[in-house]
Each structure stands twice: as C-alpha cells, then as structure tokens.
Point group: C2
C-alpha cells in the first residue's frame, strides 16, 4: 500500500526521491542510476532514467551532492584587481583561458573573484570569505594579496599563486622571466648596443610613474618587477635610464617612450617588461619620427600578438601564457585530492626575434 507522501506538486521541482518513488525503487538505487558509482542492473538504470525524463528531473541537485561530498567542484580565481583593469591586458585573459580549458574537462567550475579593490584601504571581496570553493587560484600575485592569502588560509582552502613570491604552504606557478630578460638583453648587447634603457612594470602598490633614480630602484616591492630588472643586470648591463610605469598598458608605454627618447643621450635600445608597454614605446618612436629598429631597438615581454603594431613585429620574450593557466589549473586539481602537498612549477620562456631590434645607429 503506497503511502502518498510525495505528491510532486506541479510547481515543485522533482527530487531524486520523487523519481525513485515513481520508478518503484529505493532512493539509493535511483542515486546509483545517475552516479554509476556502484553495481546496478542495466534494466533498472534505464527505467529510472526514463522515469526521470518523464518527470522532468534533470539530474541530481548539485547542492545536495556538494554538501554530501563535501566538495563544491568550484575553483575560485582571484584576479588582481577590478576585472576591467586586469583584463585590459590580454595576458591575464590568456591565462584565464588556460585555467578554464584545464578545469572544464575535470568538471570543475571557475568562480571569478575580484581582488582587493583599493590600495590605500584594501577591501577584500566578501566572496573570499564566504563563497563555496575547494581551492583558489590567485592571478598576478603582486597586489596586496596577503590579506587574501590569510583569509583563504583561515578557511584552509589550498592556494595556487600564479606569478608571485614563493612561500611555504602554497603552490606557485612561475616562469623563467629573469632568464628571459637576460637573454633579450644579451641579444641587444650582441647587436652592439651599449646605451640600453628599461621600461618597467609597477614597483609596488603605490603605482607611481616616471624615471626611477637609484634610491627608488632600491625599493622595488613587487617581486615580478624586481626579477625582470635583475635580468638586465644578469646580462652585465646597467640601464642608462629606468622608467617606471603605473600599469602594463599601451598608453603608459607611449608615455615612457616619449620620455626616454627625448633624453639628451638617447638610448639606442629599450627593454620593456611587457609587450603592451613595448608597443607603446614603438608608437612613441614613430610619433617622434624615429625609425625602429634603425634609430632605436625595442624588446618586449609576453609574446602577444599585436595586430595594430604592424608592419612592426615585436622582438619579445615569449612566455607560454595558456600553458601557465593550464599548469595552474592542473595544480589546483591536484591539491584537491586529499593529502597532496603544494608544489611549485617554473615554465620556460623563449626569445622571439621580430623586426624591432637591430644594430644601433652609427652615431
């Protein structure tokens, strides 16, 4: 005698229990019909599936499943800043694409979390403290991420840092950027350049811009920027001038280019910490009537495709952007399995010679 317990009121979404009742099996068997995690007769499975379809049941409610499993299947991705700002640079976008392409097939979703909003009075997004996620990936680790790291640590959520300072207890995905810059610089030296200038990423959260004197150069807070500056020295070169920018954007490159190329002792080559900056420098050179590379050589970093720079093609240090994202995704997935320890990865870079470098002018 069937007790009428669950009358699927038309307005209500059916649950696994409804399906089980309608198919005449127990809830546990119905569950097996969907998860496939256990022995079940093919006929039973089909019957349950069919009843489910008839009832308009579209599969197990993720919320129930997640609670039971203790896993949300969600990877939080903390982007360094307001999205608008982070993603004006295609670099982050490509990394993000790599992350999703790795995580998607594993059934893991990406929850987008804006990083600390302000620098003077950092406010971390409430999602960091309360959203369901099994592991977090932090992009562009430069920013005031200590707050974020702390908050995630408290929740004992494992962390993967993309580009950041190595620290115990979390995984860092980095690239051999110092060595890349060294190679690029040596390429310039090999061509005969001696007056080499640099255009850098921000030194720290204050994000000022302008020529950096020695004192300022001693106060580079962000690791990434310091590493890339170090690469120039590794090639045995001391830059004749260093221009610090407030963000890796074309307009800041142009600003830097104008300043550097108007110096009395004009540099014959400029090493830039990003392709966007380098592109901006090339535009500044054009604007000043200088030929690239005859009058000035320019190298970038990242290996982006800049169609608007044509016919010039940047000489640049290409980093494997999508692979960096995939590596981060892989590492995140790995940290998900119980007891796995964080591990760091360093990916290689490669110098790609384009049309923007050549021998220095005869002078």
């Amino acid at each position: 005698m069937p007790t009428i317990e669950r009358v699927p009121v038309s307005q209500q979404r059916p649950t696994l229990a409804d399906v089980a009742a309608a198919a005449g099996v127990s809830v546990s068997t119905a569950s097996l019909a969907f998860s496939g995690a256990g022995p079940i007769a093919a006929a039973t499975r089909e019957r349950v599936r069919q009843t489910a379809a008839d009832l308009g049941y579209t599969g197990p409610n993720p919320l129930g499943r997640q609670l039971r499993r203790g896993r949300s299947g969600i990877v939080g991705v903390v982007v360094g800043d307001a999205l608008r700002r982070s993603f004006r640079d295609p670099v982050s976008v490509q990394v993000l694409d790599g992350i999703t392409s790795e995580l998607g097939p594993l059934g893991l979703g990406v929850l987008l979390i804006p990083g600390p909003l302000d620098v003077a009075e950092p406010v971390i997004d409430p999602l960091i403290g309360s959203a369901a996620m099994d592991v977090a990936i932090m992009l562009w680790g430069g920013t005031v991420n200590d707050l974020v790291v702390d908050a995630l640590r408290r929740r004992s959520i494992p962390i993967v840092l993309v580009e950041g300072r190595r620290q115990p207890g979390l995984s860092v995905i980095g690239i051999a950027d110092r060595d890349g810059i060294r190679q690029a610089t040596e390429h310039l030296v090999g061509l005969g350049h001696t007056r080499i200038a640099a255009v850098t990423l921000p030194f720290g959260p204050d994000r000022t811009s302008g020529f950096a004197d020695d004192e300022r150069l001693g106060d580079v807070r962000w690791d990434l920027t310091r590493r890339r500056l170090g690469g120039i020295h590794d090639a045995g070169v001391t830059p004749v001038a260093v221009y610090e920018t407030s963000a890796s954007l074309v307009e800041h490159g142009t600003e830097a280019g104008r300043a550097l190329l108007s110096l009395p002792e004009r540099p014959t080559a400029i090493v830039c910490h990003s392709d966007l900056l380098a592109g901006g420098v090339v535009l500044a050179a054009r604007e000043l009537g200088l030929r690239v590379p005859q009058d000035v050589s320019v190298v970038g970093f990242d290996g982006l495709d800049l169609p608007w720079l044509l016919p010039d093609v940047l000489t640049t240090v290409a980093q494997p952007l999508a692979e960096k994202g995939r590596a981060a995704g892989r590492e995140a997935a790995r940290l998900l399995v119980e007891g796995e320890e964080p591990a760091s990865v360093e990916l290689p870079v490669s110098l790609v010679v384009g049309t923007t470098t050549g021998p220095p002018p005869a002078s």
Copy 2:
C-alpha cells in the same frame, strides 16, 4: 551532564554544532549569532563569536547554507565562446566587469562558463547542465545558444540574455544600436558623403569573410548584425559595398579596409560595426597612404578607448558597456526573487564625434 558526542578531532574542521557545544548554546542560537536573522542577546552573540574564533571556525559552511536555502548565490555567466576569443574584444570584458560590480555587493558570485565550443558540432559545457547556479546570464547571444537556452530552461534556471533576440520567457538587455548606426550614418550623409561602405560583424555561425553580395545580405542569421545593417538603411543609405568579417578584431578590420579602399570606386566613408574593426580600417588606410579623414572617413561602434590609434580618435557610437553589465546583473538579481517576471531593457547609445570623420574629398 554533557554527553561527549562531538570531539572536534584536530584534523576536522569545526562545524556550527561544535561551536554551539563549546559555547554552551543550542545550534539554532549559534546560527542566529552568525546570520543575525532573529532576536538574540548581544552578550550571547559575542560569546558565540568568540568561541568560534577560538575554535578556528570561520563562518557557516556555504554548502550547508546553500542546500537549506535552496539558493547557491551563484550566477552563471555564459560567454559566447572560448574565453581567449571572447575577451580579445574589450567589449565583453567591460560588460563582465559591470556584471560583477553589480553582483558583488549583493553577495552573488560569478561562475564563468564557456559557451558552445564548436560550430559544426556544438558541444555545450557540462557545467551548464550540472553546476549550481540560481540564474544565468548569456553574453553575446549570437552563437548557437539555443542549445544552452534549452538546457537551462530544462533546469528551470532563469536566463538573462545580453544582446540577443527577444523571446518570451527570458530577459534581454539590449542597446539602441540600430538607431545609433542610423545616427552615425546620418552624420556622414550630413558631411556630404554618398559613397558609404560597411564593415560588419559576422553574419552567422559560419563566420566567413569577404564582400557580401545581395544574396548573402539576405541571409544574415545573427540578429545583432542584421540590426546594425538595418541602421544604415534607416538613414536612407544603401552601402556601395559590404564587407563581412569573421570576428570583431583589429586584423579583420585591416583586411576589410584593404579590400574596400582598393575598390575602383573607392568609398569616401566606412561604417564599421565595432571599434576594433574601425581601428583596423584606419590602419589599412594609413598603410595605403590615405589620410583620415581627408581621403576617407571612418566610424566605429562601441566607444572604446584605443590608445594605439592615436593621434586619431575614432568617431563612434558609444554604448554604455559597464552599465549594460550592471543592468544584466540587476536583472539577474531581480529574477532571483520568487515570482518576478522576466523583463527586457534597452539602453541608449550616443554618437561621439572624433577625428576620423570629415567632409568627403573634393573630386
């Protein structure tokens, strides 16, 4: 006499029950101490909070809360394509930024979902069928979204479409783009132009590129493209040539520009469906030694900031991108409250005259 039921094994994360036991209150009271949804003595709340802190309890487990509430607090955002491709156009990024900026303060998170991967054999992301989300926002509604819409509908997840064909049962956030293109075209007509060409967004999922003849023009499958083409006709203009592109990217604009500007009867003005395309056309003109706007005028659409195009500043139809995102977020949040009906919104656009339009050459 306290029964020793819950011994918080050091390895285990504490639960609300642990906190309640330690603080000597019931679970329900402990819950109140965190949610604040009910009367509770200030002293009790403090005590519970303090014990929680001592135990390292960082707040209610989102999974439990979500199941009970029947809400995940997650908004799925389906981007039209692989992220890499979608986000090469800053348009989507700005819209996404608008969405998060609206949703964040409401405590809602954004789950990033790649759209259908391929056109020939569309595969929709499994997340669409199984991820926890309360409502979905679909960006760039052109693509093979019927599959996605169907899948979401089956799960009875409300949908907000950004830029798409209006249809019953879902909300559409659109802009007055047809009217905007009309204004831009009339601006050109007012300047004296008669030979006006067009560079369009893709006609449909096949994404071919090249000159479109009349037959092809009768087969514009994507609504967005059709509307923008319609705007030209609304101004009483029949384009002397229409060049269809395969994506809204600079390089495709350049390709189109080269083709159009090499025609025997060169158009004196070119209306483009996006700023990236327009920027590409300007580059093509420069490459061919043509002056903008003396030899050819160019108008775009979107209102982006293109620092690499300087000193030229595009004449363009500016759309409120971030506001479009915020409107989508608002609408998504609205659909979350029980019984709210979908509603559509159309945002205004405005013609912004830059330096790329002027009177046609004398001839």
